[in-house]
């Protein structure tokens, strides 16, 4: 058996990776532990969220699947931060845990060049530090030119509950027991990470009168730029908001030593996510907070589970019962699945190149939680990039590297390989210094050209995109050329804006905070879509701020362009601080700009590096 590309793991990273490779015409094999768990959502039943929603749009712009698949399976959707500026708006949807994987599997099965196999991988086969295939646990070898590992939380996975630890993947799945040890033997540095998931309770056992209803938006949204909405606004399933009580806190405080994380288990090495703490963490760290917010989220139309967002824990089952029943509305709740924590192996992402190929082994790529991230969206976008780049590598083409000013995906990958990780990495808008450029609304304008160039966007979709771009240019021109005069003052005053003394262009009028683009449509000769008008409005109203961001990008450009030769010898630079030297040797930055972002490398080290480079 011989494939061009093998993808190990059928989670969100694996699905994107194998689809990208197969769609680009490469004979691809997806190996998964359980075919029924493909694109599974073992934790929260939602796609998107702050920053993450923008990533889903970026995946779609590049020709990935997540956005499209979420559109097919959503229960409710809303635009977060809609009252704030356009730069921080982001979509978040509740996705049906049955429909989402089902639709994804359907897509995989109907994709040409893609085979799916149920097996566990034990080792990556190499020849002269180059990938030659994989070895299965039954000792079968399958040959391939490139391998993408998307093992999620399965490598040496342990499930932790109270004082018990058992070797097991999520949902009681079989873990991968050999792969990470074999990677370690090949020279990879591993890191133990930890994450957790809350209880699921029965829908009908909740007293909803004690909760606050959280509905979806009353306007339609889609993740994909090419989809029409596939849901009915009025049929959206609501979430419910509740708060922890003093009783809850008391139960947790009293039983703290029974939690795996607080003494229940003494051998915990995994580092948990700072941005997603367990409920016992929240109560210990923010002891003065009287209550913590929890969301009751529906998991599916096809079964009864309700997910308690914000309540993840590693308490023993009996304590979990008490904790859940102390919550308002959940006094008689029936627990269907208990919460647990999971410990797993990841590799230090500083061992990767920007293409997500490992530095140690040629044609071996890794993506998703194995690289230390958390979240479906973070995983999916890495899978897509790894799939694209493994293909491009085999095609002998230049790999696709997105810059920090081009995409959240670029921010994420640069952060991973430049800064490394301490705990599972979550994307946040604050990680993006150019977030005004990386908006939900312009993901296609930023990335669709790349999607087309790598061959994941077909001619039809590209033509549609080109048309939109043309219309935006045309609209902006029309807004600049069309002028209103004092003869329009009656109308303008009725909008609550000051009267004109001279002629003013629509473009300049739109800059006024009280004027909306809709107010000016009546003066236009041409008709434009809502998306096009949105671009005009953002371009106009925030022109100064967008310009500032672009200036910042340009200011950094000369450092980003300054290459550091790969044969540079940091040991020869005696004046480098030892921490900086160690970090530079580990990360091996490609450019001075990247070197600057390494934590532990301070400005003085950069000037030494720069002087050294000048002297070379």
């Amino acid at each position: 058996m011989k494939y061009e590309i093998i993808v190990v793991g059928g989670g969100h990273a694996g699905c994107e990776a194998c689809l990208a490779a197969a769609r680009k015409g490469h004979k691809t094999l997806l190996i998964t532990g359980n075919i029924n768990n493909i694109a599974d959502m073992p934790c929260n039943p939602s796609i998107g969220g702050s920053a993450k929603g923008i990533v889903v749009r970026e995946i779609d712009a590049l020709g990935g699947e997540m956005g499209n698949n979420a559109d097919k399976s959503l229960l409710q959707i809303k635009m977060l931060n809609s009252a704030k500026g356009p730069a921080v708006r982001s979509l978040r949807a509740q996705a049906d845990k049955i429909t989402y994987p089902k639709e994804m599997l359907k897509t995989l099965k109907s994709t040409k060049n893609l085979d799916i196999m149920e097996a566990l991988v034990k080792d990556v086969l190499t020849k002269n530090n180059k990938v030659s295939g994989v070895l299965l646990e039954d000792d079968t070898s399958i040959l391939a030119d490139a391998v993408i590992l998307t093992t999620g939380t399965y490598m040496n996975a342990d499930i932790l509950v109270g004082d018990t630890r058992r070797r097991e993947g999520p949902h009681g799945e079989k873990p991968s027991n050999y792969l990470s040890d074999n990677l370690s033997k090949k020279g990879f540095k591993l890191k133990r990470l930890k994450t957790g998931t809350p209880q699921r309770i029965a829908k009908d056992s909740i007293d909803y009168s004690k909760t606050k209803v959280e509905n979806g938006d009353s306007v339609y949204h889609t993740f994909s730029f090419d989809n029409k909405p596939m849901y009915d606004i009025d049929e959206q399933v609501p979430c419910h908001l509740i708060y922890t009580t003093e009783e809850t806190h008391e139960i947790i405080r009293k039983n703290l030593n029974k939690s795996s994380m607080y003494g229940g288990l003494s051998d915990i090495k995994g580092v948990g996510p700072r941005y997603c703490p367990s409920i016992e963490d929240k109560i210990v760290r923010f002891s003065d907070k009287e209550r913590h917010q929890l969301f009751l989220e529906p998991e599916s139309l096809y079964f009864d589970d309700i997910y308690i967002q914000g309540f993840s824990t590693s308490m023993p089952y009996d304590v979990q019962e008490k904790m859940v029943h102390s919550l308002p509305g959940l006094e008689h709740a029936k627990i269907l699945k208990y919460a647990y924590a999971i410990e797993y192996d990841a590799i230090y992402p500083t061992q990767l190149k920007f293409s997500l190929e490992t530095k140690l082994i040629e044609n071996l790529f890794t993506a998703g939680q194995i690289n230390g991230t958390s979240g479906y969206e973070e995983a999916a976008c890495q899978g897509l990039i790894a799939g694209i780049n493994a293909s491009l590598k085999l095609e002998g083409k230049k790999t696709l590297v997105l810059k920090r000013n081009e995409a959240y995906i670029g921010v994420l990958i640069d952060d991973l390989i430049t800064k490394g990780i301490r705990d599972p990495y979550r994307l946040l808008t604050s990680r993006a210094e150019y977030r005004l450029l990386l908006r939900n609304d312009n993901a296609d304008l930023r990335l669709r050209d790349y999607g087309y160039q790598v061959g994941l966007i077909d001619d039809d979709r590209y033509k549609k995109f080109k048309k939109k771009k043309e219309m935006i240019d045309k609209a902006i021109l029309e807004f600049k050329e069309k002028r209103l005069t004092p003869s329009n003052n009656d109308y303008l005053v009725s909008l609550g804006t000051t009267a004109l003394k001279d002629g003013v262009s629509l473009y300049d009028l739109l800059k006024r905070p009280e004027i909306d683009v809709k107010d000016l449509i009546r003066f236009l000769d041409n008709e434009y879509s809502v998306e096009v008008l949105e671009q005009v409005m953002i371009t106009t109203k925030y022109e100064g701020y967008i310009k500032k961001s672009i200036e910042e990008v340009n200011k950094m450009k000369h450092l980003e362009d300054k290459l550091i030769p790969s044969n540079i010898d940091y040991d020869k630079m005696h004046n480098l601080a030892s921490e900086a030297k160690q970090k530079l040797k580990e990360v091996k930055p490609d450019t001075l700009g990247q070197a600057m972002r390494i934590s532990g490398v301070n400005p003085a080290d950069i000037s030494i590096l720069m002087m050294y480079l000048k002297g070379m």
Binding site: K84, A87, R291, L436, Y542, K548, N575, P603, Y612
Partner: protein
């Protein structure tokens, strides 16, 4: 970067002792080669050794050599200092010997640059050191020392921390919008924050101006009609405080012609020609000339005669002084009073001839420039032009924010400006990075330190 550098670190030709500083890996080895006491190589750190500098067998000078081993030195490298007996020729000879034996002549500011690059000092401190070297009076020296100690850094760091807390709160609001318990930052919060920032920045800038006065002096003009006693007043000021008046030849009309130090304050006098040639009756500073001087000076000492009535010229000058820092000095109180001073407020009455009340001129200057307070308060002023330029930029950013707020720009965009300010403040204390900044800074240092 790892070669050993040497330079004469005291002013050339002046003083009884000159110091030659050597820094780098081979500093101790190289000095040992030309030093009579051969135990130098094994000497413990921070010790002083007596001996001779020799060129082969010829004794060049009797010296004290200080050994300071890395890393507890100014440059964090091995440092040797040779205390020689002065004289340009001897000192140069020793330096030459060091260069012959493997040192490289230090570039301007290179010791400080190494201290900075090796992480010994931050940018503000580096600038402070330069001010220390150039300080002319006790107060300016003290100020430079305070800056080296990091007082400016801590002041800026506080402002930065304040900003960081509001920025992170805005970030949390964006990243966790569904959390209702977290305080939402509103325009009111931002208004309050930038108001505070503006007040403090303006204060630092204003006080920095006073710091500047300590450092480089006040451009001062002494004006008044002929025979009011300007020159005798000047002589008295000089005599009283034993200050030095230096003639600088070939200067133009409004450049500094003499420096006078009163109570630790430097006065740079402009256009003293008319004052000192009093024996000629050419002391003929006409009104036009006076107005010109007033225009150019930071401080005007307007001298009137106690023994004469005010004329139209005087009144015109008084009118012009309204927007300036000025002191009216009524001289010749030893004579009869003829002046009508009912409209002159806050004048200082002196008799240059009998040396009466001259000292109150100094206190008056301090009062005007708010310098009394500086002397007693912490000396926390930014003394470098670069830092000041950055603070001016901060004020400009604050204006941008106000403009943004008036245009209903969303908070998450306003935050971009707040972040810029945070970065700018970081630049002052060297916590964000700019290539040109370093080059610019270090080329301004004088040789030796």
């Amino acid at each position: 970067m790892n070669d050993t550098i040497a330079a004469i670190s005291t002013a050339q030709g002046v003083g009884a002792i000159s110091i030659i500083r050597v820094s780098g890996e081979d500093a101790i080895d190289i000095v040992s080669k030309i030093f009579s006491n051969k135990k130098l190589k094994e000497a413990p750190t921070h010790t002083i050794h007596y001996g001779y500098i020799k060129d082969k067998e010829e004794i060049i000078d009797e010296v004290l050599v200080s050994i300071m081993r890395a890393p507890k030195t100014f440059t964090m490298e091995d440092v040797v200092e040779i205390n020689a007996h002065g004289g340009i020729n001897t000192t140069n000879k020793i330096l030459e010997l060091l260069l012959v034996n493997g040192c490289r002549l230090a570039e301007p500011g290179e010791f400080t640059k190494r201290a900075f690059l090796n992480g010994r000092i931050d940018l503000t401190e580096a600038e402070g050191i330069m001010d220390l070297i150039n300080s002319k009076t006790d107060t300016s020296r003290e100020m430079a020392i305070n800056q080296v100690g990091g007082k400016v850094s801590s002041l800026i760091r506080d402002l930065r921390d304040d900003l960081a807390s509001i920025i992170s709160n805005i970030e949390v609001n964006i990243d966790y919008p569904e959390y209702e318990d977290i305080e939402k930052i509103t325009i009111n919060h931002i208004n309050k924050a930038i108001k505070n920032l503006e007040v403090k920045t303006t204060k630092i800038l204003k006080e920095s101006k006073n710091g500047e006065i300590f450092k480089s002096g006040i451009k001062t003009a002494i004006i008044g009609r002929p025979n009011v006693g300007k020159s005798s007043l000047l002589n008295r000021l000089i005599g009283e405080d034993k200050a030095i008046v230096t003639d600088v030849k070939g200067t133009t009309r409004d450049s500094v012609e003499a420096t006078l130090v009163i109570d630790n304050i430097i006065l740079n006098l402009i256009d003293t020609a008319g004052i000192r040639d009093t024996d000629d009756i050419v002391e003929s500073i006409g009104v036009k000339n006076s107005l010109n001087l007033i225009e150019n000076a930071d401080l005007v000492l307007f001298v009137l005669n106690y023994n004469e009535t005010l004329n139209a010229e005087d009144l015109e000058i008084l009118d012009k002084l309204k927007d300036k820092n000025y002191i009216i000095i009524v001289n010749k109180t030893d004579l009869d009073k003829k002046i009508d001073d009912s409209n002159i407020k806050n004048a200082v009455y002196v008799s240059a001839k009998d040396d009466v009340n001259i000292e109150s001129i100094g206190s008056k200057i301090k009062e005007i420039f708010n310098l009394e307070k500086i002397e007693t308060a912490d000396l926390t002023y930014l003394t470098s032009a670069r830092s000041k330029a950055i603070l001016v930029k901060v004020l400009k950013e604050i204006d941008e924010i106000k403009k943004g707020i008036s245009l209903d720009i969303p908070i998450d965009m306003i935050e971009i400006d707040l972040r810029n300010i945070w970065n700018l403040l970081g630049e002052i204390i060297g916590e964000s990075y700019d290539e040109e900044l370093l080059d610019q800074l270090f080329s301004r240092f004088c040789v030796g330190k």
